[in-house]
Symmetry: C2
Subunit: 316 residues, 2 copies
C-alpha cells in the first residue's frame, strides 16, 4: 500500500530528479525505490515499484503523471468505435522495462517480491475518464448506455492484464496483487458483471502458475464474499470492515490481508500501537492472516510512524 | 434525493436570478422550488428545499456557495480551543427562515412534506475541512489526534441538530430525513463511535414527537444493521447493496427506502424501466418499502428520464 512512495524523503529526493514514468521505466531506479522501504522499515515483503496504468502506456494511450494532478491519459476512449480500433500490445516488448525492473529488484532485495496490476474495471475507468475523476460519471454512464461496448473494452484489458501478470511471474515475482481501486462505485449487480467476472478470468488464468494471487478492491469490506467465491489465495480488505467479524463469514482456506485505517498513522505512537494491537489480537486465531493497511500511505505521513507500526507488528 | 435541483430548467432559471442561500432564506422561493418537482414529476412527497449546512449559517461560520465549488465555510474549526468558543445558537431565531419556508410550502403543496438535516459527523466534516474535500483528511486526522475534542464538536452539533429538527416539526414537516453523506469514510468502529452514537441521540430525542425519522448514510448498504439497531422509522439505502438481499437481514418493522443507482438515469428509457421494475419486483413482499434513488440526481440528467422513472413506479 504505497510502502515505497512520497512519505519517504529518500523517494522524494529521487522524484526531484526523475519524473514518475522515468522511475518506472529504469530498472536500477525501480530496484532502488522498491528497496527503500525494505531498508528503512524492515517489512517482510517488497512490493514492486510501478503503476497500475503502465498497461495504458503499453497501449500507447499517452500516459503521463502531472504534478498535483496524478495520472493523465492524453488519448482517452469515447466510443465503441474507438474500442474496436484498440489492439492487444505485445507486453513482452512494450513492458520489457517492468520485467527488467523485477530482475533488478531480485538481485538487490532478499525478501519476497510482490508484483501487481490494476483490475480491468479500474484501468478502464482511467482510460474512459482520461485520468482520475471525482465521480467517474463517464464510466458509470457507459455501463448503462453501452454495456456491450464496455465489455469489449474490459475483455481486451483483461487479456492484456493476464499477459502482463505472466510477464511479471516469468521475471520473478513471488505473488501478485490485483488492485480494483474504483470497484466501490459499483452497485452489487454491476460489480458482479463489470468487475468480478474479469477478476475471475485473471485468477483462473494465473492458477496454473502456482503464484498466489491477492485481490484488493476499494469496497472489499462489502464485496468480500463475492471475491472469496473466486478462490484467490488471499483477499486484501479495505479499512471499512471489522476484520475479525468479517473473517467469520469467509472460507478459512483464503488468507485475509489488511485492514488498518491508514489515517491512524496521523496519530501519536501510543495510538498507533494500540490500534495495531487491537487488529492483531482480533485476527490471532486466523491462519495465514497478513497484516497490512486498508489503503495507501499518504505523502505527508511521518516515516517514523510507519516504522513504529511495522515494529509493533514484528514485536507482537 | 435532490428532486428539486439543477436538472430542472425551472430551477436553473431561478438560480440564475438568486444565489443558493438566498433561495434557502426566502420562504416564497423555498415553496416555489420545493413544488417544482411535485408539479413536474408527480411524486408522492415533497422534500423541503434547503441545505444540510444551514446550521453552520446559524452558527455564523461564514457559509456560502460558490459556483462550481459548492459549499464553502469561511471560518472552519482548527482546534479544541476553537470548539470551546462555539455556542449553541437559538435556531428559532437564526433559522426562522426555514420555519417560514416550511409554512409557505405547506400552503402551496398538497403532498406530505419531508424535512431534513445533516448528521453531526457530516456537518462536522464540512466545518473542519472548510467545505467539501476529496479525502476528508483533516477530519480523519482529528479522529485519531483529538477524539475528545471531536466528540465535543459532535455533541454540540447534535444538540443544534435536534433543536433544528424540532423547529422543522413545529413548522409542519411530516417526516424527517437525516443525511450522513460522509459516513462511508469511517471504519466500522469509528462509525459507531463518531456517527451512530449521535444518530441515536437524534432518533431518541425525536421519538416522542411521533414524526417518522429516516436515516440515510453513504455507506448505509454496509452499516444497515447498525442503523437498524437505533429503530428509526426507516432506513434509506445507498445504491451499493442488492436491496432485496439486504432486507432479509433487517428487522421487518423498519421501512426500507432506496436504492436505485441514480446513474441509471443516464440510460435510455427502456433501461430505466427495466432496472426500476427489477428493484420494485425484488421488494414486492417488503411491507412499507419506499421507492427512492440511492443517491442524488445530477445536474445534467434529463428531466424526462426522471419523469419516466416516476411514471414506472406509479404504474407498477
Amino acid at each position: 500500500m504505497r510502502q515505497a512512495g512520497r512519505y519517504l524523503p529518500q523517494f522524494r529526493a529521487l522524484r526531484a530528479k526523475y519524473d514518475f514514468l522515468t522511475l518506472c521505466r529504469t530498472p536500477e531506479l525501480v530496484a532502488e525505490v522498491t528497496s527503500q522501504p525494505i531498508d528503512y522499515l524492515g517489512v517482510d515483503a517488497a512490493i514492486l515499484f510501478c503503476d497500475i496504468l503502465v498497461v495504458l502506456d503499453a497501449m500507447d494511450r499517452g500516459l503521463h503523471f502531472d504534478k498535483g494532478v496524478g495520472p493523465v491519459i492524453d488519448r482517452p476512449i469515447h466510443s465503441s468505435e474507438e474500442i474496436a480500433q484498440l489492439h492487444r500490445p505485445d507486453v513482452a516488448d512494450s513492458l520489457s522495462y517492468v520485467a527488467d525492473g523485477i530482475k533488478a529488484c531480485k538481485e538487490r532485495i532478499s525478501v519476497p517480491l510482490i508484483g501487481f496490476c490494476g483490475a480491468p474495471f479500474t484501468v478502464a475507468s482511467y482510460l474512459i475518464e482520461g485520468g482520475g475523476s471525482r465521480d467517474y460519471k463517464r464510466t458509470k454512464q457507459w455501463i448503462f448506455r453501452d454495456p456491450k461496448g464496455l465489455h469489449a473494452l474490459l475483455s481486451l484489458l483483461c487479456d492484456v492484464t493476464i499477459d502482463y501478470c505472466k510477464l511479471q511471474i516469468e521475471a520473478g515475482v513471488q505473488a501478485l496483487q490485483v488492485f480494483d481501486s474504483w470497484a466501490h462505485l459499483l452497485a452489487q449487480a454491476q460489480f458482479e458483471e463489470f468487475s468480478l467476472h474479469y477478476l475471475k478470468r485473471i485468477v483462473d488464468a494465473l492458477r496454473p502458475t502456482g503464484i498466489p494471487v491477492i485481490l484488493f478492491c476499494r469496497g472489499s469490506s462489502f464485496f468480500a464474499e463475492q471475491l472469496a467465491s473466486l478462490q484467490p489465495a488471499a483477499i486484501s480488505i479495505d479499512w471499512s470492515a471489522d476484520l475479525s467479524q468479517l473473517s467469520r463469514k469467509l472460507p478459512s482456506n483464503i488468507a485475509l490481508q489488511g485492514n488498518l485505517d491508514p489515517d491512524i498513522l496521523y496519530a501519536d505512537k501510543s495510538t498507533i500501537e494500540r490500534e495495531c494491537k487491537k487488529l492483531l489480537n482480533g485476527m490471532k486465531d486466523h491462519p495465514g492472516y497478513i497484516f497490512n493497511l486498508g489503503h495507501g500511505l499518504k505523502p505527508d505521513m511521518e516515516p517514523e510512524n510507519v516504522r513504529c507500526l511495522v515494529d509493533t507488528v514484528r514485536n507482537s
